[in-house]
């Protein structure tokens, strides 16, 4: 074989090994087919309920990325666990490992977590003219797994008695809606690549009732003055 051909052959083998290894490596973590997070205000903290559908690996294990700032309150699964869920570290990142006793094609897991300080008032960075009292809430979901998370959806609820001032991130394709729990910002992505993230950042605001009163008083006074001042226009038209 010529040297050039040997080099090409060597690179090809390395490439195939890499692909194969990555496939095997990915297979070890199973596959998250859908991940929905609903984030509710709880004072200054947040209650995050995650609904996860996940295909296990060959050992009936599933792995879920877990933000170290989260505190797991409780969980629900559609099948019994062999052992309690374990918090493990992979490459320095926190992962929750669930091991199931019964083999199933896919598992459904609900996680109930508390995130401290998410709804704590942080003054919004606004320049130039703007209303006062606007604060920012920002939540970032990071995929710590070396596998793709498919169909990620997030519902970020607005605290009671607050208004959604604007959505800073994402810039497009989000939806604003309301249900029994309140108003929320909804965003969906078809996939989150390994070690990538999705961030939802919003500004919230409370319109001052003092401002409303001042506005209406101003409107009434200005309207009355104008109607009086301009009455001559009607009078002179009638005279003609």
């Amino acid at each position: 074989m010529s040297i050039k051909f040997k080099k090409i052959y060597f690179v090809f083998i390395l490439f195939m090994l890499f692909i194969f290894t990555t496939y095997i490596f990915a297979q070890d973590y199973g596959e998250i087919t859908s991940y929905t997070e609903k984030i509710y205000p709880n004072g200054e903290d947040a209650l995050i309920i995650s609904y996860i559908t996940i295909i296990p690996n060959n050992s009936n294990e599933v792995f879920i990325p877990f933000n170290k700032n989260l505190n797991l309150i409780k969980y629900k699964t559609n099948s019994s666990l062999l052992v309690k869920p374990e918090l493990i570290k992979i490459n320095g990142k926190t992962i929750y490992k669930f091991t199931f006793s019964e083999k199933m094609d896919k598992y459904e897991i609900e996680l109930y977590c508390n995130l401290s300080g998410l709804y704590k008032s942080k003054k919004a960075k606004m320049k130039d003219s703007h209303p006062g009292g606007v604060t920012t809430i920002s939540y970032k979901f990071i995929n710590y797994l070396p596998v793709i998370i498919k169909n990620y959806q997030i519902y970020l609820y607005i605290p009671d008695k607050k208004e959604l001032y604007e959505v800073l991130s994402p810039s497009k394709k989000f939806k604003i809606d309301k249900d029994k729990q309140g108003k929320y910002v909804y965003y969906k992505v078809s996939k989150i690549s390994p070690f990538n993230n999705v961030e939802v950042k919003i500004n919230i605001y409370t319109q001052s009732s003092k401002l409303k009163i001042i506005l209406w008083i101003t409107i009434i006074i200005v309207s009355i003055i104008l109607l009086i001042k301009r009455f001559n226009v009607i009078k002179s038209y009638k005279k003609e």
Binding site: D128, V222, L226
Partner: protein
């Protein structure tokens, strides 16, 4: 442009009297109401400011530039849009295009070439006012084939319209002729656009979306064959309705006989050096606008529409080449400010999501999924055409309407092409208010018509087009196999 002071009708007088209080009350109601479920606070404020401004522009309770400044202030202070974005509208290409277009017009006017062109048009085509108006409409239609930009076409026609207006003394006496010159100009611009696929980019985007979603391809010729009869009939309707709404005060410019005009044209003699310079610069401008697709191949870089206009303006000012000084340039800054404010109000509706929220709300409230095909077709076309009231960008309107219509058609089990393609033919129906598109702003800058004139005339013409398109469902579109 000088401010036109004209006698108001009874209706206009009462609108002027009540306009500002009504605008303030509407603003107050929208400002203080709870924010609807599907939009943010900023969107609500943007809607409040837009509604406030719209009432003031229609009623003329305040000068348009004052309203525009209020829009800029209210949007920024009350949070409808950021101050940077609001003020940034003054840097938009449409404003610079208008400034440049007025420099070009001033140069054409000073040189006398525009007068020669206007007199030539009047003597050649204008036995009377109606013929002049018709020839301008035809000119608008024909140049749509070679100049693929609605804004460029408006900028080309503007000097001609202004000079013909001057010949007719529309500012002083023949105001209806002024209205017809300008409003029919913008209507002809927009309506002609719908006949030619490449006359505006959102139409090309529309057929791209239709192809992606339905696998159905529409060629340039297919579009022309399907849409041109509707466009021509709508132009005819616009022409005749306009003559009824704004009856021309005279059939001849300035009340003079056509022979006097011919004599004046003859007395101009051969073109002088200033006219030749103006003709050269204007001709170069049109050539660059018409060939913008080939700039990269020809020059190695692309020169946008507005940069062509700025280059043209530069040429008019340059020593030895140009003919104009700054003092001789007539730019209506009050209208530039109006344009910036109007554009800011309109764009903030898009960027805050109010426009798409309103459209989705209308579709769901109407219960379109339970309608028969004919009713559905009529409703979709109506919404598609008149949705330009809330969408000031044809592109944004296209990317929302076309996929919505295709999805709706699939959901109710009808042929999506039967709805989406006719909906695409209404993309250019942006003829009712100045902020709706750049040609509207350009023609509005003549000062020949009010917002109410344009709104009233535009709504009637669009209703006429809607009826024509409804009739096409049973006739032309059926023959072509679209429905």
């Amino acid at each position: 442009m000088m401010e036109i002071v004209r006698k108001k009708s009874k209706f206009e007088t009462y609108m002027f009297y009540l306009g500002l209080p009504i605008a303030l009350i509407v603003f107050g109601l929208l400002f203080t109401m709870p924010t609807p479920a599907g939009i943010s606070y900023s969107a609500k404020i943007s809607l409040a400011v837009f509604s406030f401004a719209l009432i003031l522009w229609v009623t003329e309770a305040l000068p348009t530039y004052v309203t525009a400044l209020l829009v800029i202030a209210f949007l920024s202070i009350f949070g409808g849009w950021t101050e940077k974005s609001t003020l940034g509208v003054f840097g938009y290409n449409v404003i610079w295009l208008m400034v440049s277009a007025f420099i070009i017009t001033s140069g054409m006017e000073k040189s006398g070439f525009a007068k020669r062109l206007a007199l030539w048009m009047i003597t050649k085509f204008g036995k009377n006012t109606k013929q002049i108006l018709l020839s301008l409409m035809v000119a608008n239609f024909l140049i749509a084939f070679i100049v693929p930009s609605t804004t460029a076409r408006a900028a080309i026609m503007l000097p001609i319209v202004l000079l013909i207006g001057k010949a007719y003394k529309v500012q002083e006496e023949n105001k209806n002729i002024g209205k017809l010159l300008a409003i029919q100009g913008l209507q002809a611009n927009n309506i002609s656009t719908s006949a030619i696929l490449t006359a505006t980019a959102p139409q090309i985007l529309a057929i791209g979306l239709i192809k992606d979603m339905t696998n159905y391809s529409v060629s340039w010729t297919q579009w022309l064959i399907a849409s041109t009869p509707i466009a021509i009939l709508t132009l005819a309707f616009s022409y005749f309705i306009g003559l009824k709404l704004f009856k021309p005060e005279t059939q001849l410019p300035g009340g003079e006989g056509i022979n006097k005009i011919k004599e004046e044209y003859k007395n101009m003699g051969k073109m002088n050096i200033m006219e030749k310079k103006a003709l050269f610069i204007f001709g170069l401008t049109i050539l660059l606008w018409a060939t913008d697709k080939w700039h990269l191949a020809l020059f190695g870089f692309k020169i946008s529409l507005v940069m062509v206009a700025i280059i043209s303006a530069i040429l008019f000012f340059l020593p030895y080449i140009g003919i104009l000084s700054w003092k001789e340039t007539k730019i209506p800054w009050n209208l530039m400010i109006f344009s910036a404010g109007a554009y800011a109000a309109g764009i903030s509706l898009n960027s805050t999501g109010v426009a798409s929220w309103a459209l989705n709300g209308i579709f769901s409230k109407l219960g379109v999924e339970n309608m028969n095909m004919i009713t559905l077709y009529a409703v979709v076309l109506f919404i598609s055409s008149f949705s330009h009231f809330v969408f000031t960008s044809k592109t944004v309107r296209t990317v929302i309407i076309i996929p919505t219509v295709v999805t709706l058609a699939n959901a109710v089990g009808v042929n999506p092409i039967a709805l989406a393609l006719p909906a695409a033919f209404t993309i250019a129906d942006t003829i009712t208010l100045p902020p709706h598109c750049k040609p509207n702003l350009i023609y509005y800058s003549t000062g020949y018509f009010t917002v109410l004139d344009q709104l009233f005339y535009g709504v009637i013409v669009l209703l006429g087009k809607w009826i024509l398109m409804f009739a096409a469902f049973f006739t032309w579109f059926k023959i072509l196999g679209i429905v």
